[in-house]
Symmetry: C3
Subunit: 147 residues, 3 copies
Amino acid sequence: MRQAQHVLTIATKGKGLVEITPQVKHWVAAREIATGLLTLYCRHTSASLLIQENASPDVRHDLDAFLRRIVPEDMSLYRHNDEGPDDMPAHIKSALTQTQLTIPVSDGRLQLGVWQGIFLFEHRASPHQRSLVLTLIGEEHEPPRFG
Amino acid sequence: MRQAQHVLTIATKGKGLVEITPQVKHWVAAREIATGLLTLYCRHTSASLLIQENASPDVRHDLDAFLRRIVPEDMSLYRHNDEGPDDMPAHIKSALTQTQLTIPVSDGRLQLGVWQGIFLFEHRASPHQRSLVLTLIGEEHEPPRFG
Amino acid sequence: MRQAQHVLTIATKGKGLVEITPQVKHWVAAREIATGLLTLYCRHTSASLLIQENASPDVRHDLDAFLRRIVPEDMSLYRHNDEGPDDMPAHIKSALTQTQLTIPVSDGRLQLGVWQGIFLFEHRASPHQRSLVLTLIGEEHEPPRFG
């Protein structure tokens, strides 16, 4: 068993889902780990991670619209408005989605489902640089059968 | 440290929570790993994973009813309705719950709490075959103390 | 690669977010693991885990208020009210947040973002003893570069 770690920096353009599957796959492919687990970790509280359908842009639109409906940018609802109307909703949307994702690797490839992509979800209105920590733990060869 | 991987296929009967604790425990028990971590990963975007109370069927009913209330099957709310009124709500419900769960193993057993069960949450109205990847990383014996 | 496991018990004072970052950092620091992953697991279905902004108490207040709005303590909405009006809402709030968190470790330290703290989220009105399992997997030294 061995491991590798990497910081992936993603530039966002304001609110919305940014697909990061290609960058993540590229890094995993170069690690020569046949079997194991990849963990992505988002070092922010106003952006988050999500596995979601990556074929239809409408899915991303509808998911974003849903979150705007249940977490409205209405400053009268929140005490914490230091950085504007999108500040506290960004923290809530992060809490409702994921700060961390762990995805299996087999045959040297991420075991995403056919329709699954990995997304960084930016919850702030303005563009940000987001820092993700990738950790891959596994083995170069298929594991020996045991048990 | 060593690892094992397995694909668990679960047949669902349409919307609702399916307890998979017995199948998962059975696979872990046969691996002879005393201490480590089990990661379950759901390869779908309209079904998800959840740790939840497993004693009362009413909890499952109420959780399902709550999600139907906040994510209504009203096609006028969504652009993505390709596969019917349950299509986009299924993606949203998956986003609000988990695609992946990691559970500790000690003394060769999953360290679930007394009332916890592992559930596959089917969000589509029709029955589906769902594919879960299980990865167990750990050691055959209790770890030596260090640090 | 090696690992360590520990049970951390946290006393809560009823509903609200309890920051546990100091206790978790303290345990990790004593393990002498330079690089790896820490997994926290909550063995309860009416308390959960969350990475959240830890500078402003208003964020915690607003997050709590948001969850009370979308998951009201109205017994007519639920079948499962065995332990009072906070019973079923506690299970739903747990389902919407996290039972488990995995956080990377580099240079012997948790790679939390500048504004991130680790919180135990108590969803019951009365004080409880909550049991968390911490599992750290990694290496004493920085990993050799490979791939």
